[in-house]
Amino acid sequence: MDEAFSFVFLMLASTLRVATPLVLCAMGGLFSEKGGIVDVGLEGKMLMAAFFAAATASVTGSAWAGVVAAVIAAEALALLHGLACITYRGNQVVSGVAINILAAGLTVVLGTAWFARGGQTPPLVGDQRLMPLFLPEAGENVLVYAALLSVPFTWWIIARTRFGLRLRAVGEMPLAVDAAGLSVAWLRYRAVLLCGLFAGLAGAYLSVGQNAGFSRDMTAGQGFIALAAIIFGKWRAWPAFGACLIFGLLDAVAIRLQGVRLPGLGEVPVQLIQAMPYLLTMFLLAGFIGRAIAPKAAGVPYEKEH
């Protein structure tokens, strides 16, 4: 009995750890998308943040300095995205793709130039990492709890505050917001910056929390899984959180099922489980599991009339 309990406990704990960057990223992406700015660049922001977190932590010796650097790095890319999409009314998907490619290249280029370890940062030890809090045996560090808190926070901001109401309006019908005398651009910039904040924390979690250092492409598509979770949650905070947990659980299960034969099923290909988040989201998008309706103005640059 005790064994079963500890198995479930450890499984839940590991699901939560795997889901943390997804949750943070998804909450960030939610702000952006609710405000009408599509963010394909979550992956790139998270990767850049992960790199600067590990680089700063290893140079200064403080994990917290790393977290701050991660947020600054992600905010820089978020501002770039805002500049391209809001101020210059560029294509939001193109801007996101550019940010992803830029981050994939720049992290390795800078990493190699600064640390000469083939794109990796030196391994982080002691205070250079975020250590588990409260339940050391479960291994949850402070950012895991931050991710848990980010969900009610996001829900409350979007559903219950004046800013949230305006944010939703700017994502559905910016013309109305403009007519009400509010700045569409400033609202959207705030949405994009909130997105950068959360993506930065997610990146920091990857390199100074979950792992001990940065390695190239360490986000491995998690930004896109977070994007899938937003869609899967139909652009709402709690369902998106649920989707992140499901995707996290799939990942935790995939690791455990490697090479295991299930009765009646045979060996389940790990790749199938890894592809599940994408396949499930495709099914949802195809309208087989309810309907996912994006904010109406998402992806459309707002042009002020004269």
Binding site: V97, A113, A275, L285
Partner: protein, 355 residues
């Protein structure tokens, strides 16, 4: 900032603005190189000689340019239909699987002159099929093609890893790769270089895309749909079928990357042969203003960057090959998302000259 977009003279729109965009990208690259502690002009010189300094390097440049032409055309065709295909990566991957399977199945029996066209057709078919699913979802179920093509890149990658590790791996091999192709499944190549017959295929695709888009009724309907779907419906175009056509064509073009890489160079199915070309295709199409000739020129530039970047990384250890990826990212940023950034400056310039 919110000044209406006045038009520039046509030549400035087509030639000057793109050149200014690329110049901006390269200025930022220069700053990054300087931050690393390398003289940017020295790096540029190494890059240019690395890409064009010898027959061998020119051969490599053209080989890389072949891939970029395929993926650039793929993105451009979809763009003309008003569709954004960022699934080139997955379609190229599946295209390689298609031509690889055809060769593995038939190279024992068929001579090269029969084997090669069949394998090329298989690459096109598999690439098109992989694009057809997101296209179908967009046309009939209304799900957004950007999201579905992204998702399909990851599904393609998982599928290929599964197939290579569990099914297609050569017996006794430690690395996930298939058995080698027999000579009938290899494209004629220049000895000692990766440059092969695919270059001719790429050129043929450029001409084909140009003829299709501007000189056939389907191409006309496709471009109409991209400009104004309502007008296209009014003119009798079936938008759903046209979406399928545009995406399948796009996927088939991306699939040809597999022909160049597997039949031209690796001569077996390997993993990750397509890495990065699909995404770079977006940059190529943006730079080439979605015109086949522009795509070809942009692909040559990207090929030169790829080859020159490799040489640069070889000469200067503190610069890695990924510098090329940074340049690609910046080009997408400046000639795509921030394309209108220099427009006010140019307008000011032209207005001052006119007065």
């Amino acid at each position: 900032m919110s000044a209406p977009r006045r038009s520039l003279p046509a030549w400035a729109e087509v030639v000057l603005l793109p050149l200014v965009n690329i110049a901006l990208a390269f200025i930022v690259v220069g700053v990054i190189v300087a931050i690393i502690g390398v003289d940017p002009f020295h790096a540029l010189r190494l890059l240019v000689t690395g890409a064009l300094g010898s027959w061998e390097s020119i051969g490599y440049t053209l080989y890389y340019a072949t891939n970029f032409t395929f993926t650039g055309l793929a993105v451009a065709v979809a763009f003309h239909a008003g569709l954004f295909n960022i699934g080139g990566e997955g379609q190229a991957y599946l295209g390689g699987l298609g031509c690889g399977l055809a060769v593995l199945a038939l190279d024992r029996w068929l001579p090269a002159w029969l084997m090669i066209p069949i394998a090329i057709a298989a690459a096109a078919l598999f690439g098109a099929a992989w694009a057809a699913v997101p296209a179908w979802l967009q046309a009939w179920r209304g799900s957004h093609i950007v999201i579905t093509t992204i998702m399909f890149n990851f599904v393609a990658s998982a599928l290929m890893v599964y197939l290579m590790v569990n099914v297609l791996i050569a017996p006794g091999s430690m690395t996930p790769q298939s058995r080698g192709f027999l000579p009938s499944g290899e494209l004629p190549a220049i000895p000692g270089l990766p440059l092969n017959l695919s270059l001719a295929l790429a050129l043929a695709c450029c001409v084909g895309v140009w003829v299709f888009l501007w000189h056939t009724p389907w191409g006309y309907a496709l471009r109409t749909m991209g400009h104004n779907p309502e007008a296209a419906v009014y003119a009798g175009t079936n938008l759903r079928r046209m979406t399928m056509l545009a995406m399948c064509l796009s996927g088939a073009l991306a699939g040809f990357v597999g022909v160049n890489e597997l039949m031209g160079v690796h001569h077996r199915i390997v993993l990750d042969f397509q890495a990065g070309y699909g995404f770079a295709g977006i940059a190529v199409a943006l730079m080439g203003r979605n015109h086949p000739l522009g795509v070809l020129l942009a692909a040559l530039l990207f090929g030169a960057l790829q080859q020159g970047g490799a040489e640069l990384a070889f000469e200067i250890p503190s610069i890695t090959r990924e510098m090329v990826v940074v340049i690609q990212g910046l080009i997408i940023l400046f000639s795509g998302a921030l394309a209108h950034l220099p427009r006010p400056w140019l307008q000011l310039l032209f207005a001052r000259r006119a007065s």
